[in-house]
Structures are given as C-alpha cells and as structure tokens.
C-alpha cells in the first residue's frame, strides 16, 4: 500500500509582511507621541511640485467652458446679473453701517485700527483635499500656528501647521469642529462643522431666527461666519436645528488673508 505524506509547506514568509506590520506599529507609536516625521518632508517637496503642476494645468483651466451650451450660459449670465443688482444695494448699506460703526466706536474711545494681514495663495483646497483644509504658500517666517485665516473679512479657519515652504489651515467647518456663535444677533449657541463650509447649530424653539439671518463668531469683533440656509423643527418640538453655510464657495478660493 502506497502512503502519501503531505510535506509541510516550507514557503518563506515574505519580509514585506513584517515590514508592513512594523510600519503599522510605528504609526501608532508616532500617533501616541503626536509626531509626524513625514510632514516636513512632504511639505518641502509639495511646494515646487504643486506650483509646477498648477503652471502646467492653468492653460487648460477654461477648457470645460467650450463644452457648455450658449443658451445655458446666457441664462446663467442673466441670473447672475440679477443677483449683482441685488447685491449692489446690500454693499452700499454695508459700507454705510461700517462707517457708522467706526464713528460710534471712535466716539466711545475704542479706536480699532484695521489689522494688516498676510496675503497667501491657496495651493490646495477642497475637493482636492479630502478634509476641510487649505495648503497655502506662506511659510513660518510670515505666519504662526493659531493665527486666523480670512476670506473677504470672513474668518474661515486657523493655521495649524507651519513649515519652511507651506502652511496648513484647518477650516472651522471641518467635521466635528465646534465654535461659539451668535445666531441672528439674538441667540448664543455652539455650531458644529460638517465639512464643505457647512455648519449646524441647535437653539430653543421659541428663538426668533429666520432663513438669511447672519451667524457671527462670538468675540470682541463681530465677524460673520455664515448665513442661515434652513431652520428645521426638532421632533420633540423643543429645539430648532439651524443649518448655515459660509457665504462663498471654498472650492474656488484662490487667496486668503492670515491675521
């Protein structure tokens, strides 16, 4: 009778597996000590690569426009012209109120000079970034961690990392970020970021707020953070859920001011 013996597999274990396991352990160690040794290397390389990439891509940026229908474009122009007309009166009113505010503050001896910030070019923005972060071309000589980033005088984020070439801004709307806000100038509450410039906040049912009301950051200066998009009633009918957005598109932001 013939016996068949299964030979034990002498397959060598791949060194890649050990490398991967070691790497994962290393990641957890780095995370525990709050270290990211790859960050400075990546940032140093990123600056010339992104700049070159955008230089190459810039001539092709308007290509999509060639494929749009003339009729659609005309319709869009008409609706945008209508919006501009509406905004003109808002701008005039805004300028008048700003002047009045300045005069009143001066009258009360609070002379607040306009802070001068650093203008930065946004190299990377959502949706290029998977998170609500901006990569800007300003280095650690001009900005520092903790400074606020503004777009048209609207605070949008905070500098969280600086380097010799670029810096990183975490937007206030990034998922889970909590900010104290004043809604419609009447209710103070906490707003939670949901990404893409969107926020939510809950207030009591009897609070008088409407769609279109401004949401401002709580602080010495009243900076507008967003405009209310919708007001929803809670199932228990005790709270209202407020949804508001940053008043411009983050996807098209090219410049940002750091103060």
């Amino acid at each position: 009778m013939k016996m068949i013996y299964h030979l034990k597999s002498r397959k060598k274990k791949s060194p890649i597996k050990y490398f991967v396991i070691g790497f994962i352990i290393l990641l957890f160690i780095f995370n525990f000590f709050k270290l990211n040794p790859f960050s400075s290397i990546t940032r140093k390389i990123s600056y010339p690569v992104i700049k070159t990439g955008s230089m190459i891509a810039s001539p092709f940026s308007g290509v999509s426009g060639y494929f749009k229908l003339k009729r659609d474009l005309e319709r869009k122009i008409q609706s945008l012209e209508g919006e501009i007309e509406g905004m003109k009166s808002d701008i005039l009113e805004n300028e008048f109120l700003r002047e009045e505010n300045k005069t009143l503050k001066e009258g009360f001896g609070r002379n607040e000079d306009e802070e001068k910030g650093v203008l930065a070019v946004v190299l990377k923005r959502p949706p290029d970034s998977p998170y609500d972060t901006f990569v800007i071309d300003v280095n650690n000589e001009k900005v520092s961690v903790g400074q606020t980033a503004y777009i048209s005088n609207v605070p949008v984020g905070e500098v969280v990392e600086v380097n010799s070439k670029t810096s990183l801004i975490k937007l206030f709307s990034s998922s889970g970020t909590i900010k104290k806000v004043m809604i419609g100038g009447v209710v103070e509450t906490e707003a939670v970021g949901h990404g893409g410039g969107r926020f939510t906040a809950t207030i009591l049912q009897d609070s008088e707020v409407e769609v279109g009301d401004a949401v401002t950051l709580v602080g010495s200066k009243q900076y507008i953070l967003g405009v209310i998009e919708s007001v929803e009633e809670d199932e228990t009918k005790t709270l209202k859920l407020i949804r508001f957005n940053i008043p411009f598109s983050l996807n098209t932001t090219r410049f940002i001011e750091i103060r």
Partner: protein, 84 residues
Amino acid sequence: MKARIISDILLIICSFVLPWWFVLFAVLILSFVFDNFYEAMVFGIILDSLYGSSFIFENIPLVVTSIFTLFIIGVEQFKKQLNV
C-alpha cells in the same frame, strides 16, 4: 517592473498635484494589477501629511495610509483565495 516604477513615480506626482480621489482610484486599480502593491502606503503618507489628517482625526494615525495598508492586505488575501 519598469511599468511599476513608472506608475509609482507618476502616482507620487499625482498625489501632490491631482485631487485625493484620483490617487484613491489609481491605488484601487493598481493593487489588482501589481502584486504586493505596498508602495500605496507612500501615497497615503503624502496625502495624510499634505492635507493634515492628524489635525482632523486626532486618535487615528495617518488615516489614508492606514486605509490603504488595510486595503492592500485585503486585496492580497483576496488574490490568495482566488489563487491568482
């Protein structure tokens, strides 16, 4: 081997220049094309460091890198099951 090196270099450049989801799709496809496509971890590190994932997810180390690593391990196991 030549194709793998070229695709690696191209993907490193793409990680900096193109949107993150392009790199994600490329990794998904290339992990089935090449064996042990663990260099995807490098692309993950670039994305994580460039866009600052540690400031968004404070308790998870290098999110995209971890996802890529787990995905590649999964794909390799799947290939073994299929005896590819």
